[in-house]
């Protein structure tokens, strides 16, 4: 049992491997710069990033529609750089579903089976099962154009899965759906992926989607992976200012490190105030840094802060009632876009615009990150 587990782990850790992969379209600039990534079997990995960050290119290289300019992509230990897409056996869900409009739903699903020369009865059985899996059992005879966006999405998913691939790629599959449907589909996709035990590489620019669905998220920017981590790590411990800014809402303050002591440091803000922070990628005194604090971690109740904690004076600019939470905009250290979020509880204070309050935080929640270039 233990040995088998070990074997699976070794095998599984190396299921999909990007090894020093680079991609250039024009021969002068790199769209993907030195990508190294390995995806274990059964993992749901999301590539997250703004458009133009290289995430879709990576997916297309994996699918075989683009070729790596240098480096190697391995699937189950085999170099697939020269394997044509149709021989890779990878399922794929496209952004606009790419359901064949001239075929019925059932014909769409039967297509990958037909080209694999699977017999008629088995084919029908698999199609039926796939349709039932996505709860579309009655829609086999319809044309794609007769289905709603969500239904088309389910069919596209079913078609990518019907030939039982071990790896499924999804390229922003939920981009065209409205919010409610999207949330429902997020849940369904993860459920199915989990049930079938398949490996999924999922591309999106929607951080919520990435956080809710994935085992791990690779945040892309400028052709590089900025951080590869579990959703909670990504949110709680962003590795740099890009990730901090890209994932979730984030307050930024600029300053200079004045003292470092173990995993705590003091930062003097440009306004002159001093605050406690946790050094993440600042190394020495004098480094410029961007302080990152999540709005829900800002404390307005001094009693909850530890003794001697630094606090800042803030002027309330705006109070927004949002139902489950209150959102208050403050002017802090010369920045007037500082947001705090507080839970809507009976004892919660509703700050009046114009009033002055003191704010503070636990040093662990305040991360001193690299200063973005030009600041």
């Amino acid at each position: 049992m233990a040995e088998e587990g070990l074997m699976t782990k070794t095998d599984g850790d190396e299921f999909v491997v990007f090894d020093g992969v680079q991609k250039s379209y024009d021969g002068t600039t790199l769209v993907v710069k030195d990508l190294n990534l390995s995806v274990p079997k059964g993992e749901f990995l999301t590539m997250l990033g703004p458009s133009g960050s290289g995430k879709t290119t990576c997916l297309m290289m994996l699918a075989g529609f683009e070729t790596a300019t240098s480096g190697e992509i391995r699937l189950q230990g085999r170099n697939i750089n020269t394997v044509p897409p149709h021989k890779r056996g990878i399922g794929m869900v496209f952004q606009n579903y790419a359901l064949f409009p001239h075929m019925s739903v059932a014909e769409n699903l039967a297509f990958p089976l037909e080209v694999r020369k699977i017999g008629k009865s088995e084919r029908e059985q698999k199609v039926r099962r796939a349709l039932e899996m996505v709860q579309m059992g009655d829609f086999g005879g319809r044309r794609p154009a007769q289905l709603s966006g969500g239904q088309q999405q389910r069919i596209a998913l079913a078609r990518a899965l019907v030939f039982e691939p071990e790896l499924v790629l999804m390229d922003e599959p939920l981009g065209a759906l409205d919010k409610q449907l999207r949330e429902q589909m997020q849940f369904e996709i993860t459920r199915i992926a989990h049930d079938l035990g398949i490996t999924v590489v999922y591309v999106t620019h929607d951080q919520t989607e990435a956080l809710t669905m994935s085992d791990r998220v690779a945040v892309f920017n400028d052709g590089r992976i900025q951080q590869l981590a579990t959703p909670s790590d990504l949110y709680e411990h962003p590795a740099n200012s890009f990730v901090a800014q890209f994932i979730g809402e984030n307050n930024r303050l600029m300053g200079t490190v004045t003292r470092i002591q173990g995993d705590a440091c003091i930062v003097r803000l440009d306004s002159g105030d001093e605050i406690d922070a946790k050094p993440v990628n600042v190394i020495r005194v004098g480094d410029r840094t961007q302080i990152s604090i999540r709005p829900e971690r800002v404390e307005t109740n001094k009693d909850r802060l530890r003794d001697g904690a630094h606090t800042l004076q803030a002027e309330v600019l705006e109070f927004i009632y949002m139902g489950d939470i209150f959102r208050t905009r403050l002017r802090v250290a010369g920045h007037d876009d500082f947001i705090i979020k507080t839970r809507n509880a009976p004892d919660q204070i509703r700050h009046q615009p114009g009033s002055m309050i003191d704010i503070g935080w636990l040093p662990d929640d305040c991360r001193a990150l690299d200063a973005p270039q030009g600041t």
Binding site: H86, G91, F94, N96, H102, F111, P112
Partner: protein, 535 residues
Amino acid sequence: MLTADGVPLRRSLNRALRRQKLRAMLLIAPLLVFVLITFLAPIGDMLFRSVENQIVSNTLPRTVASLSDWDLASETPPDETVFRALAHDLVIATELKTHTRLGSRLNYEASGMSSLLRSTGRDVEDFGEDLSASLADLDPVWAEPVTWADLLGDPAWRAEHESWAATGQRSGAPAFQPSATALTALPRTTEIYGAFARITQEVNGRNLMRQDPWHLVAITLIEEIKADPAAAQAFAGEHAARLAAIAGADLAQADFTAAFADSNDRWITPTPWSVIALYAAPYTPGYFLNAVDLGKTPEGIAPRPADEQVYIMLFMRTLWLSLTITALCLLLGYPVAWLLANLPARQANLLMILVLLPFWTSLLVRTSAWKVLLQRQGVINDVLVWIGLIGDDARLVMINNQLGTVIAMTHILLPFMILPLYSVMKTIPPTYMRAAKSLGANDWSAFWRVYFPQSVPGIAAGCILVFILAIGYYITPELMGGARGVFISNRIAYHIGTSLNWGLAAALGTILLIVVLVLYWVYDRFVGVNNVKLG
């Protein structure tokens, strides 16, 4: 349903929309009028011409009427009455110069009618010359034109005519008015003299008192008096005496049958008569029958003689060559359209310009350029000879035959295939092919099973466009096709411009139109017009 103020909703809506509709109508009115005048009216005229045949009954009214008793299947020509009626009609027709057109018309149905009517048209005014001479022998006054005017004309008209003549004017003579006496006593003579008077005065603009009446007038008078000598007594004075003299004189009987036989012995065979009888109706399917190599015969509708059967062959050739051209256009155009739709914008634009280039060159120039390329001493042959592929004495014949037509027309019509294909292919996202490949299809089956079916509307639109343009093509086959590479439209042009057989041209054109409409209908049934994408 009622609106708030109690007016039925529908009526209220209609009122609200009426203004909008009126405005829309006004906006399209100029185009509508334009289309009506320049498109629908000529088509209507064409349809009408393809069946219109009033020329026979208008030119030969008496002959047509008297032929109704004659048995079409008869082995013998009709009797003297019909010959007389034809003489009567032909005398008038030759004066009006309509017999030549009638001859041309009937010649479309039976070869020989044109020369028959033309040659007899020259002779017919002399028919009965001896009879009218014998009348003049009997009494020289009959040789005086005035005698006839006095006998048959209304006295008041005669007086008016005299006073006009006294003024010495050349034009404005009072038109002939028959006298009541003549009309009752000598109706046939009066009628034919009336026709003579009308033509002399109105058509030829001559003085009636100086023109000898047709011999036919004299012949008719003799016959009427012989048949009813009492008619003479209806007239007064010298007229009665002169007419009575005719009744008593021994004058020969007119023999029109002999006269016609003398002019052309084909008249005493049943053939020309059956042609006239068969095509006497004012509307005829004759042109359409002709257009499909059939003709009317006394025994019913039958194929035309073998050496006249040409139209079915031409229709088939037109359809076959058009199909070939369409297929070639598709074969050559599909990859180009695919490239156009899938190349990056800049290269695609360049290619598009190359595709459109022929559109910016006149059709005649392009066709002539093909002539220069394809002829025996042309560029292609020169190159082939130069590289030693063919001998100088074995140059390829690529022009003045069907090959020339096919090559040039394929080139000329290619853009009409590429553009609809392109516009459809442009809308097929490349992800379909990727999806197919990711699902395990190789390049060919991804193309054939996924891409191709989606490009079918473009194929259909391109094919129907090219095919319909091709079957109506005229200039290129004319210049490139020689005698054996021409289309039905060249034949239509020939009938419009040269043979002047407009009825047949109209019938051929109508058939072509019907073929196009039927094709369109078939296409609609199987592909669906809504699937056509032209851009």
